[in-house]
C-alpha cells in the first residue's frame, strides 16, 4: 500500500464537517505554521520538492519565492480550481469529499505569502462545490481559523470562492485572473508574470487545488520527510484521475514512481481493462499530453518499466514519451477508435480556443475539420501530413500554451497510429461503421495476470 497524505481520511463518515476533520488531526498545520515565519514555511515547501499539480510541474517553493513584495501593496493567493482538462477530475473529488483540506492549505499558504484576501476560483459548473467550500469556510471562521486575528496571532485572512462561467481557457493562470476581474478569459502576454503583476495588478501566486492541499502534509511532517516519498525529482504523492476503459476508474493517490503497469493492472488501483479487453493506448496526463500506444506506456523505448513520475513519463521526449501533466489518465481499449478520439480532442480545443491568436483560432478549426472528414470516410492520404503541418504551425506560435496543447495530441496520434488513420482513408465506408480491426497495439507485452475480482 502506498502512503496516503491527502486522501487518507476520505472515507471517514462526516469528514466534510469541521469537527470530524479536526478530530482526525485537521488544522494542525495551521497551528504549527502560524508559529513559524513565512520564510520558514516557504523553505519547507522548497525542501519538499513539491511540483505544481496543475499540469506544468513547476516547483511550488520556487514559485512562492518569486513573489514580489513591494511595501504597501496587497498580495494575493488564488487557488486554481478550474479543472477542465479532459481526463482530469481529482480536484472536484478532493473538494467534494474533504473540503477542509483545501481550506487548511489555503490558510497556511496565504500566511506564507503574506496574503490577507485569497480566492478559490472554481469552474462555474462546480456550483455544488462552491456551496460545499462556502460551508466549510463558514465553519472554519466560526472556529477562529479564518477572519480577523486567527488563533490570536494577529494574522487576518478572508477567503472567498469565485465561480467562473464555463471556459477551459480560464484554467490558464492569466486567463483565470482576467476572469476573476470580471472579464473574458483572454490569457495575458507574459511577462509580466503574476508574481509581479497578477490580480488587480498586484503580486499574485496561482496554485492548483492539489498543490495547495499538499502543503498541509508538508508542514505537518516537514519538507524533508515529504521529499523522501516518491522518486528523484518527483517527490511526494500525486492524485491520478483514472478514466476510460478501466475496470475500476476513479481517483487514486499514488506515490510517485509507481510502475504504470502496476497502476493499470493491480487490484489496488485500476484492476485492469474493463470487459476483458486489451489495452490499446493511454493518455497519461490529461488531453493535452501526447497519446501513447500500449507498448510505449508500459515500457520506454529502452525497454525499461515506465513509472508514474514526471521524468519517466517524459522519457523519450515527444518521439516516444509523454507527460505526467495534471494526472488525467485515460485508458483506451482495443475497440477505441484513435481517429475518432483525436477528432473529439480537436473539436474540444477548437471550441475552447479564446480566439486571440490566429494560429490557435484558425489552426484548431482546420484540424477539427480535417479529422472530421477522416473519421467520416472523406479523408485523403495527404490529410495526415496536412494535420502534422498545421499542428507544427500552431506549436510555439501562440500567446498561451493552449495552442501547444491542441497540437500535441494530434501530432502524437498520427505519429503512433498512422496506419489507423490510413485505414480510414483506404477503407472509408468501413471506417464509418466499424473500428480499425487489427488493434495490434493491444498489450504486446506479457501482462501479469491479476486474480479476477
Amino acid at each position: 500500500m502506498g502512503r496516503k497524505l491527502l486522501l487518507e481520511h476520505i472515507n471517514v463518515p462526516g469528514i466534510n464537517t469541521f469537527d470530524v476533520y479536526r478530530s482526525k488531526g485537521g488544522y494542525a498545520s495551521v497551528e504549527k505554521a502560524l508559529k513559524m515565519t513565512p520564510e520558514e514555511i516557504v523553505e519547507e515547501v522548497k525542501k519538499s520538492g513539491l511540483r505544481g499539480r496543475g499540469g506544468a510541474g513547476f516547483p511550488t517553493g520556487m514559485k512562492w519565492s518569486f513573489l514580489a513584495k513591494p511595501e504597501g501593496v496587497p498580495r494575493y493567493l488564488v487557488c486554481n480550481g478550474d479543472e477542465s482538462e479532459p481526463g482530469t477530475f481529482k480536484d472536484r473529488y478532493l473538494m467534494t469529499h474533504i473540503p477542509h483540506l483545501l481550506i487548511e492549505g489555503m490558510i497556511v499558504s496565504s500566511f506564507a505569502l503574506g496574503a490577507n484576501t485569497s480566492y478559490i476560483y472554481l469552474r462555474g459548473e462546480m456550483m455544488p462545490q462552491v456551496r460545499i467550500l462556502e460551508r466549510a469556510i463558514a465553519e472554519a471562521k466560526a472556529k477562529g481559523f479564518l477572519g480577523k486575528n486567527i488563533l490570536g496571532t494577529g494574522y487576518d485572512l478572508e477567503l472567498y470562492v469565485q465561480p467562473g462561467g464555463g471556459a477551459y481557457i480560464c484554467g490558464e493562470e492569466t486567463a483565470l485572473l482576467e476572469s476573476l476581474e470580471g472579464k473574458r478569459g483572454n490569457p495575458r502576454i507574459k511577462p509580466p508574470f503574476p508574481a509581479i503583476a497578477g490580480l488587480y495588478g498586484c503580486p499574485t501566486v496561482v496554485n492548483n487545488v492539489e498543490s495547495i492541499a499538499a502543503v498541509v502534509p508538508i508542514i505537518n511532517e516537514g519538507g524533508d520527510e515529504y521529499a523522501k516519498i516518491g522518486i528523484g525529482r518527483s517527490t511526494g504523492t500525486k492524485l491520478i484521475s483514472a478514466g476510460g476503459n478501466l475496470k475500476k476508474p476513479g481517483v487514486y493517490e499514488i506515490e510517485l514512481g509507481l510502475p504504470v503497469e502496476e497502476f493499470i493492472y493491480s487490484d489496488e488501483y485500476c484492476g485492469g481493462i474493463a470487459n476483458g479487453k486489451r489495452l490499446k493506448a493511454v493518455v497519461a496526463g490529461g488531453s493535452s499530453v501526447p497519446i501513447l500506444p500500449a507498448n510505449l506506456i508500459l515500457k520506454t523505448i529502452n525497454n525499461e518499466a515506465r513509472l508514474m513520475s514526471y521524468e519517466s513519463l517524459s522519457d523519450g521526449g515527444f518521439v516516444s514519451g509523454t507527460m505526467l501533466g495534471s494526472g488525467g489518465f485515460i485508458a483506451y481499449d482495443e475497440d477505441a477508435c484513435i481517429v475518432r478520439n483525436t477528432w473529439n480532442f480537436a473539436r474540444f480545443y477548437h471550441h475552447e480556443s479564446c480566439g486571440q491568436c490566429s494560429p490557435c483560432r484558425e489552426g484548431t478549426g482546420w484540424m477539427e475539420k480535417v479529422l472530421h472528414r477522416l473519421e467520416y470516410g472523406h479523408g485523403k492520404m495527404s490529410d495526415m501530413d496536412l494535420l502534422v503541418d498545421v499542428s507544427k504551425k500552431i506549436e510555439g506560435n501562440t500567446i498561451c500554451p493552449l495552442g501547444d496543447a491542441a497540437a500535441w495530441p494530434v501530432a502524437s496520434a498520427i505519429r503512433h497510429f498512422r496506419d489507423e488513420f490510413e485505414w480510414h482513408v483506404t477503407n472509408a465506408s468501413e471506417a464509418t461503421s466499424r473500428n480499425y480491426g487489427l488493434a495490434h497495439y493491444a498489450d504486446p507485452l506479457k501482462v501479469v495476470e491479476t486474480s479476477p475480482l
Binding site: 479532459p86 455544488p128 465561480p163 476510460g244
Partner: protein
C-alpha cells in the same frame, strides 16, 4: 450568439436579489466591483432562466460598468444562456473520456426521448439538452448536469435517463 430579436421584456431585480449582489461585491477591494460580474450573471440566470439584454443592462447599471462589458462576458462563457431554454437543461458531457463509456449513445437516447434536437426546447417548455465539454467527472461517465443547482448525474444508462426525465416531469407538475 447574442440575439436581440427575442422577446426582450424589461426585468426588475427584487430587493432579495440585489442584496445577494451586494454580498458578492463586498468580497472584492474598493473599486473592483466588476469582479462580481460572473457570479452575478449566474444569479440572474438562476432567477430568470436565461440572461436577456435588458437584464444585462441592469447588471451593468448595478456594477457601474458599460453594457458592452457585460455582453462581451456573457457571450464568451458557455454557461450563460442568451435565449430562453427549457425549464430543465440537460447538459451531457461529450468529451473523450465519457465517449469511451457511451456518452454518444446517451445523447442519441435523450434526443429520441425528448423528441427535440440539441439546443431546442420541448413544446411543453420543460426540457432542452445540449452536449458540453468535459465536466471533471470522467471516471464516473457518462455524466450530465442540470442547472441552476448544477446537480450531477453519473454513470448514466438509458434507464437512469428515462427515470430522471420522468422524475423531472413529475416535479414540474407539483
Amino acid at each position: 450568439m447574442l440575439r436581440v430579436d427575442e422577446a426582450q421584456e424589461p426585468v426588475e431585480f427584487s430587493p432579495e436579489l440585489i442584496s445577494k449582489f451586494d454580498e458578492i461585491v463586498s468580497r472584492y477591494p474598493q473599486g473592483k466591483q466588476k469582479s462580481g460580474l460572473l457570479p452575478i450573471l449566474h444569479l440572474v440566470q438562476a432567477e430568470f432562466g436565461w440572461v436577456s439584454a435588458p437584464a444585462m443592462d441592469k447588471v451593468a447599471e448595478y456594477l457601474s460598468i458599460l453594457p458592452i462589458e457585460v455582453y462581451e462576458v456573457a457571450t464568451f462563457y458557455t454557461m450563460y444562456f442568451l435565449r430562453p431554454q427549457g425549464k430543465y437543461v440537460l447538459e451531457v458531457c461529450r468529451t473523450s473520456g465519457c465517449c469511451l463509456v457511451g456518452a454518444e449513445k446517451i445523447m442519441d437516447h435523450i434526443e429520441k426521448t425528448l423528441g427535440v434536437k440539441e439546443g431546442e426546447v420541448t413544446p411543453d417548455g420543460l426540457f432542452s439538452w445540449r452536449g458540453v465539454e468535459c465536466l471533471a467527472a470522467c471516471g464516473f461517465g457518462p455524466v450530465l448536469q442540470i442547472g441552476p443547482e448544477y446537480t450531477f448525474y453519473e454513470n448514466l444508462t438509458n434507464e437512469s435517463v428515462d427515470k430522471l426525465i420522468s422524475d423531472l416531469k413529475a416535479k414540474a407538475k407539483n
